[in-house]
């Protein structure tokens, strides 16, 4: 496991989709404010199919607000206001009448692991159930598949009936990922998933993400610069509520930057 971790950064850039890959998300002039306080201003960027798109930046740079806006989470927060466009396969998600349908296409994993107070099995079966999948056979298949993909199956297969909220932090975070996978999203967004997770689990999840990339697009917000380096095809640096720089991860990390601040941040001179 540790070898794997070491080999990734030295192994060079992650082979990602080329420039020609279709665009999954086009963000145009996205802004987020809470009450009078702007959290994000004028962000425009494209995200391609089957890439891992890393977002780095110091605290309060607007990274989480970005994810919440893409997921239309402002519906649940009367103080949050979003402006600009988010095009999902060319279609503005702001125009969707059923915001719940968007969240089924775009899954999100929060920083702190949240096991719902249901059994491990029901945690993963939650989303399929509310989508109308009710037969035990179908659910069994989905639950096992998602838990396997989240690298949790072997640890919990004998105790699927224990409460998800009572698993260890690392297990809960993988349970959260399994749950997000249970509805076959086309985009998976992760918000600083390793913040409350031990290093071993972090490495396991990183390995999981590299596998998942073949099936979906991943947006990875991270506070660990090296994690972006290990995983992301392209990386964006958010700074003070703006998208400061976007580039191929390899280029950014080998010093080919447009703004000196980017180099400073990557090399840990602030943040």
């Amino acid at each position: 496991m540790v070898d794997q971790l070491r080999s990734t950064p030295t192994g060079g850039p992650n082979a990602g989709p080329g420039k020609g890959a279709p665009l999954v998300l086009q963000i145009k002039d996205l802004g987020v404010r809470y009450g009078d306080k702007a959290a994000l201003t004028g962000v425009s960027l494209d995200i391609r199919e089957n890439e891992i798109f890393g977002i780095i930046g110091p605290a309060n740079a607007g990274k989480t607000s970005f994810l919440r806006a893409v997921n239309r989470m402002d519906e649940f927060d009367s103080h949050m206001h979003v402006s600009g466009e988010v095009l999902y396969h060319g279609d503005n998600i702001r125009n969707w009448r059923n915001p719940y349908a968007i969240r089924r296409r775009i899954g999100v994993v929060f920083p702190l692991p949240v096991g719902l107070p249901l059994s491990v099995y029901e945690n993963v079966a939650f989303a399929p159930r509310i989508r109308g999948v009710n037969t035990k056979k179908d659910l069994d298949i989905i639950v096992e598949r998602c838990l396997r993909r989240a690298a949790l199956w072997d640890e919990v297969k004998d105790r699927l009936e224990t409460l998800g909220s009572l698993l260890s932090g690392g297990q809960q975070q993988r349970l959260t990922i399994a749950r997000a996978l249970s509805q076959e999203p086309t985009i998976l967004m992760l918000d600083e998933f390793s913040i409350a997770v031990d290093p071993v689990t972090t490495m396991r999840i990183e390995a999981v993400l590299k596998e998942l990339k073949h099936e979906m697009t991943i947006i990875l917000v991270t506070n660990l610069v090296q994690q972006a380096n290990r995983l992301a095809d392209r990386t964006a640096l958010f700074l003070n509520g703006r998208c400061h720089e976007i580039g191929d991860t390899q280029a950014l990390f080998s010093g080919h930057v447009q703004h000196p601040e980017t180099k400073d941040y990557i090399e840990g001179r602030f943040g």
Binding site: H89, D91, R97, N98
Partner: protein, 308 residues
């Protein structure tokens, strides 16, 4: 992977499915539940106005109502509706009740919040809750029997159903809610205040007196106000323990009659639509407005703390 629908075409999953419709319908239902409280409060006001309005317009005499002590609605020759004695009756009973309830309930709140711990605290809280659970009519019965005898024996007075009796009963009834709210207010004082006081070498009592009580002041005031409101509106216990005699009391050993008790005692004997009936609703309206004002003030006082 999924194929991209062109702009303008609705993606197939963006439809208003059953879950979406259910969610909207439930939201409307819950909203109705939410505003029901407003509807009921307005309803109470409207229906009491409806029954009392003709009396208020046709018969009501402001001066008589607030300045005359003659409440004689059943007099054949000259029915009068002076509520002063009833107001004084309610006020005197509530006053004695507060003399009993304020020190004891605030003292109990301080003890439970600042001194007691663990099992003691839980036991005391349960006992306070039990005090609150005893029904009003049972309190009245206790006033009528136990307290009555006790007051006659102790003070050597002819009648034990008086201001003192009803006041003590009412004080015990109002105390639990005051204790609970005051204790909440004391508990809401941030621990850093306590730590800071301790770091300066203050004793517990100095800390309570100089830091905690001032910080919880608004909550304590609000607790007292709600206790006053409780005493003001209490019916059965006052009816049974106060002696129910129209009288401006000279001492706590005099019997009095309360606003609430008057309604309870007379409503059954009036004809719907009569002046007497309307007058009782006018008393109800007065009670409603006064308790509304007290509750509103208590709420504003509490809101004052949150702003700080």
């Amino acid at each position: 992977m999924s194929t991209a629908p062109g702009p303008g075409l609705r993606p197939p999953e963006d439809r208003l499915d059953l879950a979406w419709i259910t969610d909207k319908a439930v939201q409307v239902l819950m909203f109705i539940g939410g505003i029901s409280a407003i509807i009921f409060i307005l309803g109470i006001f409207a229906f009491i106005m409806r029954e009392g309005l003709s009396f208020v317009f046709d018969r009501f005499d402001f001066l008589e109502f607030f300045a005359s002590i003659r409440w004689a609605p059943t007099s054949n020759k000259n029915p009068t509706y002076g509520a002063l004695a009833l107001i004084v009756g309610t006020a005197s009973v509530t006053g004695v009740a507060m003399l009993v309830a304020i020190p004891f309930s605030l003292g109990a709140a301080v003890y439970i919040s600042e001194f007691a711990s663990g099992k003691t605290r839980e036991t005391l809280k349960v006992l306070v809750e039990m005090l609150a659970a005893i029904p009003s009519v049972v309190w009245g019965f206790i006033g009528l029997t136990i307290m009555n005898g006790l007051i006659i024996d102790l003070f050597d007075v002819p009648i034990g159903l008086n201001v003192l009796n009803a006041g003590i009963i009412l004080g015990l009834m109002a105390a639990p809610i005051m204790t609970t709210i005051a204790e909440d207010a004391l508990k809401a004082v941030p621990d850093r205040f306590r730590e800071a006081a301790e770091a300066m070498g203050a004793t517990k009592w100095q800390m309570i007196r100089q830091v905690i009580i001032p910080a919880a002041r608004n909550g304590l005031v609000s607790a007292v106000l709600l206790g006053v409101g409780r005493g003001f509106g209490e019916t059965m216990a006052v009816l049974m323990a106060s002696g129910h005699a129209i009288n401006i009391p000279d001492s706590v050993f005099d019997s009095v009659r309360a606003l609430t008790a008057t309604i309870a005692a007379e409503l059954g004997e009036t004809a719907v639509g009569s002046d007497h009936y309307g007058a009782l609703f006018a008393l109800g309206l007065f009670l409603f407005l006064v308790t509304f004002a007290i509750n509103l003030t208590a709420d504003l006082v509490v809101r004052g703390i949150r702003k700080q």
